[in-house]
Symmetry: D4
Subunit: 253 residues, 8 copies
């Protein structure tokens, strides 16, 4: 409920169109009626202009499909992440026209008129090794769904730094950079030194032994000696894409 | 060394002005000669346009003053963070015209012509409690030194959420938000739900017992349920300001 | 064995009805004979007036059903938590009249005459997201079984704090509040600032990556800046309900 | 701002006494004007009826004394915890009539008319060894300041369980029990089995080697096999007293 | 190879019965030939007089059965711990006359003439709850196999300390005490205060959430305030029985 | 209060010498009156026959001296561990005839007639390096004070295993072995393979970096592949000596 | 791209054979064209002379077989580690002539003419127990594939140190030593004291309870009191063999 | 004691020159007589040919000076690491001709005739930042003392990877490479990809917040994606130099 709506309501009270008691009641409840069946993503979506998102892990296929179709009916673009095989089937049965990105474990629905792709901002998504691909693709597909052009620069780990230097020219075109890496998680520091834009580091759970399911990569990234690096949770490709999208869109507004 | 410089060098070889052997030598070494006494910050500074920075912790007062004056002589703006009392004195003796920000533990020198402040982008710096002030000020002073306007919104911790809601209107003007919090580190999640821009979360070492010197706040922030939150190291106000500056400046370019 | 029983025994010795040796023997063993087949829950149940409880995890279906029916035969109300599908079947075969709460993984038997529900004390059970439901329901069903009225306020996580503010009026009616949350575990701090009664925080194992199976939520809650928050083990909805019941019942005595 | 105030405001708008625009302004800001210079403790204090509290650690002696005297001028009771020697002196110079509890590191001021002590609720504060005394006293003095009678039962650690059994009769009179213990932190479990009221466990940083500054005691308490035990942060005697007070006061309302 | 064997060998050299070269060869290799195909348990067994033991976890059923039958052929008593169902079958097929202890996951073979049981030393094995039974039985069966009488005192956890006090008279007869407990691991401290013999504490992996698979119990036991408590690895019932046997046998020699 | 005292009390009730009410009262309180001023060490001391012990860390010099002289007046042997320089002076002023062991940080008083030293049992105390000496001496002096003969075998770390083998013959005379080691804590495993008696392992806080103040040594010892090794807390030389004394004395009874 | 290639290119520019623009283009891209399809292992392989290696874990059987056959076609020796049963089949179908080492989980292909084995350098691979065999064999097979002779000295754990001393003469022939051990990880320290060459320690995930999947062994090895010990990741037999090969080959060059 | 000495001894027994009893005695003790007063460093020094070393931390200045002068009297080169200012003075008073390396905290004495420096092998010591200098110098000075030529390549951290590439040509001349880095510890991975010799990684305790005193760097290095990296303890420059020396010397033998 924004300020103009508040003014309108109070004007109605002034004009005697609604009683003070009714006004008080509405002032308490309205903001949440307005956005309908009161879901935070919906509220955030309205305010920020990014499509609805469903985090499918820990929900039954039925629940995921229900939420997906309710959102689809409202006419918005929909994105579901961490979708199991069963949930993919359930969504596909419930909603026609969805696209399934298998490596990224994402199902998406496009309904809004797309922006002119030429005007899209651009980010780069890097990963250190091929095992990081699912997380890198979660980030890339999410960003594209949000209207961002993505440069995929994969398998550029630091043990062969010439591979990274070879893509430097592509890299510097991006408005924001996402770097996914497991094991020692050193790639964001090296990338951070090559670009002048924010780097969002995503530790992945790739590794064994003392990689502790991504904790080593996470700690390494938090201690990066490059000051333009910030970090999200282990395997959180979605969150990195969300932040990178907000950064990149700023450039074009 | 950018592409045009490379072309110029090769053209000199073509014209016989320099021998292939000399050209090979320069191609190996030149980029680092160009930026002089070979310091990464200098190199980054040239490329990105942010002033020189000295991380003073772990350096002697003499070393800090030396580096500071060498940078100052080169005409650039200079910022030194985590400066001890002794290092402040050493800098002040070596370089006239510096400003000392006591709470932020920063010494800064302004030499470049300032931008028109009206055109400055804007960020907000929040902190949960008064004990977080040194880190919040490190972030705020750094950002201001980088040419960013800062809204300081302090002591708005989640145990009294009405305090935070009271500053919501100011909050939504910012192009990026920095949130400093110790103890349970919950503030970035609540702030993330109120704004549509990136939130840089800074865990602080404020707390006792099971706060483990900021680790609890760090973990809480990494697990934020708000997707627009990314995180930097414990007490790293400088890094948060660096990234927030890069985000905010994008808006104005 | 309470004081009056002790006095009666000594009076028998005084009257010569039992010898000192027999008296000494009984003084050593009697208290545990009295409560029969010597189980702590039984003893606690007698003293405190709460029904018998079985923690089913780590027991075979047969063992769970045996204990359940032995308690049921003694006429008491019985509650079994963390019950597997197999154990549910075993109980239902052994004891008629039980109720199975599927989400809460609880099987319960009501035999005592219920108190007048109007006189029941009231607690609120909140959870941050839908994945926290099993733990929240374990708490809610347990409390109801113990004779407490429960306000269920679910999916009110801090990333959309307006959702929580919308239920504030209900919240302040409770004599004690249970808050279940995973990930960053920030909800108890915000709730603690809104109410004037004890808040029992239950970290849940919901999350991924650096949530460490609930450890991050646990640490966050222990560091809460709201002084009316105390904490139980990860996923321990039962324990939270036990303590909340003891608090709420005090109000009505 | 409660509902009646809201109705009054809207009635003023209806009567044309204030314009809609002014009403909108006040609806946004008023609740926080009401409680004055917007400090959460003040707000909580008004609502709950407990005195103002200052956590002195991490504040300068001057800051502590300033806040203390501002609160004292408002006529309320004041409690400052974790007070350094310097801060004690600063408070005593600024505010006459305070009491300094040395072991508890607390300075308190009583201004309100005391309740009739006979009507005070009662809690017990136990500790395992003499090294736990500072935390136990922080809890005990805080609770007394909040109008609660305290049974101090000290040095009753589990390695000599007969000592604890000897105080059982006193123990069962309490409306809530606080148990402070370091090292293995086993005392709350044993106490929890002896009483039918909530037990608030406070791990202390007492111990060496694998006690890890209280972490071992904390973990032990979280895993208590007594279901009436909940836990606060390491050394947080104040928080335990706050919650215990809320529990105990419920009995007498 | 003991000293007398060494003297005999050298005497043979002196008498010219064997050459110096052959003697040198045997001095290098003999000690390990003597105890056969060089297995440490065999060597230890000879020296200490305890039967052979096989730790079956991580070995294939075939390997376990092979080692078991090779030891059995040598005429010694044999004990295999942590035996899977498949390994049990493999042993039973390979060696007649073994006994399978199901809860303890042990298969044993008795071949030596038993000592007169009346002369056996005695230990007590306690456990806190029924879930600790597998570990307690691993300890009890192992000790009995080693010729020690075992008092089993189960389900005497500290949340109902009267249960423990009821068995105190039995407890004080033991020459050593083994205490198995999971969750908070508090039982050894209480037991340690009741007896004047060494207490071997075995943390078990029983528990959930912040019990961390037995780490909390382990830490609690290491910090025991009873000075007669020492600790073995999580779930190491076998090791506790080994040490307790060495202690108890000393009494009877 | 033993059984005969209980029988005597009940006989008095039978004879009418005391009333049932008075008897009930005494049955509740007497056992703890008997041991007087109710200190667990005193109680344990009476039962087990080991001298009184004071853990001085965390007590003021005055407190230590007070307790020491109260125990000395009772005629018992007294041992104070972890004694600061100030506390040593305070004890020496208060009690004549004490002995100060500087490296072991122990002050002791001998008052009882000593046993014939020839009949003393014998233990060995080993340490890996010279930095472990304070802990090894704490163990050795404590055991001697308890009437045990101590073989000191120092600086026999595993990086030069021939040093350890050279003392093997002395080692096998001991009734129990204490092994102190920091860093990787490997010594107890090697020693455990050389002897047929219990080995009490004491991790020390000696080391740097990833030794984590003794945690690495502690973990290593808990995972010892020698089954006769049990472990006490980091730097707990006293506890190791206490348990080793109980083991060794069993041999001679 | 080495220096001579660079000189040749520049000479072509000088002679006008290629334009400066084309030269600039090639200087940016050429080094990575040279090594073809741009894979780090290939690049490293060319430079160092060790065969190609595939880390199969986390790749599908199809991916593994594809990479394997592409490398085989290039004529090089190929080694695949951590190969699942399915991947073994896939490789065997795709490439004839491979050898499968089952315990080591390795598939290898030999194509190059072997060196004269008599000239091979020599390393020793030790392991503490039979459960460490898969890792020890991963190291041994890898080294042999790289042209190193391997002394396998297995089951020589420190609890029976005579077993290790018996192989000392073999041990001292090695140019480098690899030691694999789980549990307390003490073996490298003892071995380090017996040899004058580098010891590469490999912690294995063998153990239970407080072995934490190899972390205890890892920490023990990092704290080794033998200065010639360095450490690789848990279960990283391959990496140890890689480094040991580089060390051993130096001897023969 | 080697095989020929053993044969000689046995021949003496054969010839009746010594009795079997005396022979047995000598066979038990001799090996340790040979190396004199039985100190491991001395023994190792004799066998390997590296000078004596004293780890001074945790020893008193007097102890350090005593050991130093005893070694010096034996004519050997001596190296003392981690030497405090007081210990430096003590050594200088006791032994003339020593050299003090201040940054490296080392005191050294050269007595042996130096090798011809031209024949020395060569290693490189790299560090990421200037704060790593004390550890890098500990490594460099140690290696030089052991007769190794050292290339010092400092301040080449990964955030400005061009700095590292600029020294690549020097780097590839080394027979072994030591890399010291704190914070994220990424440098060894990048270096490992540039060279074909073993890389010894030394994590340093440089950093703050989530660097955890070097643990983050340690974990990063253990998870290096370069297979030629092995790791030593945090800040263990000495150990790295020891191993690197053994590697480098192999090249020249």
């Amino acid at each position: 409920m924004d300020k103009s709506a508040l003014l309108a309501l109070l004007a109605s009270v002034e004009r005697g169109e609604i009683t003070p008691a009714a006004g008080a009641e509405r002032l308490t409840n309205l903001p949440f009626e307005d956005i309908g069946h009161a879901r935070i993503d919906h509220h955030r979506s309205l305010r920020i202009g990014l499509p609805e998102v469903i985090y499918a892990e820990g929900k039954t296929p039925g629940q995921v499909a229900d939420i997906f179709s309710r959102m689809a009916e409202a006419g918005s673009d929909v994105l579901a992440t961490r979708v199991s095989t069963e949930a993919v089937t359930a969504i596909q049965l419930a909603v026609p026209g969805t696209v399934h990105y298998e490596i990224a474990r994402i199902v998406a629905l496009r309904q809004a008129l797309p922006l002119n792709e030429d005007e899209w901002p651009c980010i780069a998504v890097l990963c250190a090794g091929t095992s990081d691909l699912p997380i890198a693709e979660e980030a890339a597909v999410t960003a594209e769904h949000f209207g961002v052009r993505v440069l995929r620069l994969y398998d550029v780990g630091v043990a062969g730094v010439h591979r990274l230097l070879a893509v430097r020219e592509q890299l510097v075109q991006a408005d924001a950079v996402i770097v996914c890496a497991g094991m020692e998680g050193a790639l964001p520091s090296v990338v951070g030194g090559l670009v002048g834009v924010p780097v969002i580091a995503v530790p992945t759970s790739v590794g064994y032994g003392a990689s502790f399911g991504g904790v080593t990569a996470l700690l390494g990234m938090l201690n990066s000696c490059s000051p333009n690096v910030s970090v999200v949770n282990i395997d959180n490709g979605f969150g990195a894409a969300y932040t990178a999208t907000l950064i990149a869109r700023a450039k074009r507004r």
